[in-house]
Symmetry: C2
Subunit: 155 residues, 2 copies
C-alpha cells in the first residue's frame, strides 16, 4: 500500500550485496569441491555427521529433521536417495508403528570418515584462511544476531 517504498541506503546495499556475493561464491565453491572429490553433497555430509555422532548411529527421521532444521519431506527425499546409494538404511520402529529409524550403514561410516578431513581442509582453505581470528569472532557474533532476529520473527 506504500506507493513510495523505502529503498536501502547505499551503505546498506553495499553490505547486502557483499554478503550475498560472498555467500554464493563460497557455498558454491565448497559444495562443488566436496562433491568433486568425495562424491558427497553437503546434504549427504551433514546427515551422515549427525547420524554417526549419535550413539548407535541411528535416529528417528523427525529427530534428524529437527536436528538439521529441515522439513520432513526434505529429509525423507534425502534419506531415500542415500538409501539407494547404500549410505543409510531404514529400520522398523517397534514402539511407534508409523516411525522409521534411519541408520548409517558401514558404507556410510566409511564415506564420512573419508570425506570429513577433505571437507575440513576445504573449509579451512576457502574460508578460515581468509580471515583473522578476530574477524571470525565478529562474523560469528553477527551471524548469531541475525539468527536470533530471525527466530524472533514469525514464520
Amino acid at each position: 500500500m506504500d506507493a513510495t517504498p523505502r529503498w536501502l541506503t547505499s551503505e546498506q546495499q553495499v553490505a547486502w550485496n557483499s554478503f550475498i556475493r560472498m555467500q554464493e561464491k563460497l557455498i558454491g565453491r565448497l559444495s562443488r569441491r566436496v562433491q568433486a572429490d568425495s562424491g558427497m553433497s553437503a546434504a549427504d555430509y551433514i546427515v551422515l555427521v549427525k547420524l554417526t555422532e549419535t550413539s548407535g548411529g541411528r535416529m528417528r527421521l523427525m529427530d534428524l529433521a529437527k536436528l538439521v532444521e529441515w522439513e520432513k519431506s526434505r529429509v525423507s527425499h534425502q534419506v531415500r536417495r542415500m538409501t539407494e546409494r547404500g549410505l543409510v538404511a531404514k529400520e522398523e520402529c517397534p514402539d511407534d508403528g508409523r516411525g522409521a529409524f534411519i541408520a548409517a550403514t558401514h558404507a556410510g561410516y566409511k564415506a564420512i570418515e573419508d570425506a570429513a578431513p577433505v571437507h575440513v581442509e576445504h573449509v579451512r582453505r576457502l574460508f578460515i584462511d581468509a580471515l583473522s581470528q578476530e574477524e571470525l569472532n565478529m562474523l560469528a557474533r553477527i551471524s548469531d544476531r541475525v539468527v536470533a532476529h530471525l527466530e524472533r520473527q514469525p514464520d
Copy 2:
C-alpha cells in the same frame, strides 16, 4: 596422505557453524518469502534486475552470465523457463550468428516493478534490521575479504 588431519579449533568451528546456520536460515527464509508473495524466485529476480538496468533492456546471454557470475548452462535453462512464462524473450543477434539477445518483456518489467519493493522490504526486515550500521560495515568488509581470497585461489 595425512593420516592425522588438522581439525579446526573450537573457535573456528563456532564461527563456521554460526555462519552456515545463519546463511541457510536467512537465504531460505528470504527466497521462500519472495517466492510466496511475488511468485518470483531469486534467480528470476536477479535476471530481471540486470536486464532492466541495462539500456534497451536486452543483453547477450554470455554478458548476462558474466554479470551474475553464473555458468552459461544455468543462464540458458533459466532464460528458457522465464521465456516460457513470458518474462523475457530471445531475439536474434545480427552481428553474431550464434548469439542471442535476451530482452525483458513488458510482463517482465511489470513483474520486477511489482517485486522490487517487496524484495527490499524482506531484506530489510530479515537482515538489515537485525544489525547496526557498524555491523553491516564489518560484515561487508569480511565478505569482501573472503571473496578476494577466493578469487586469488585456483578454481
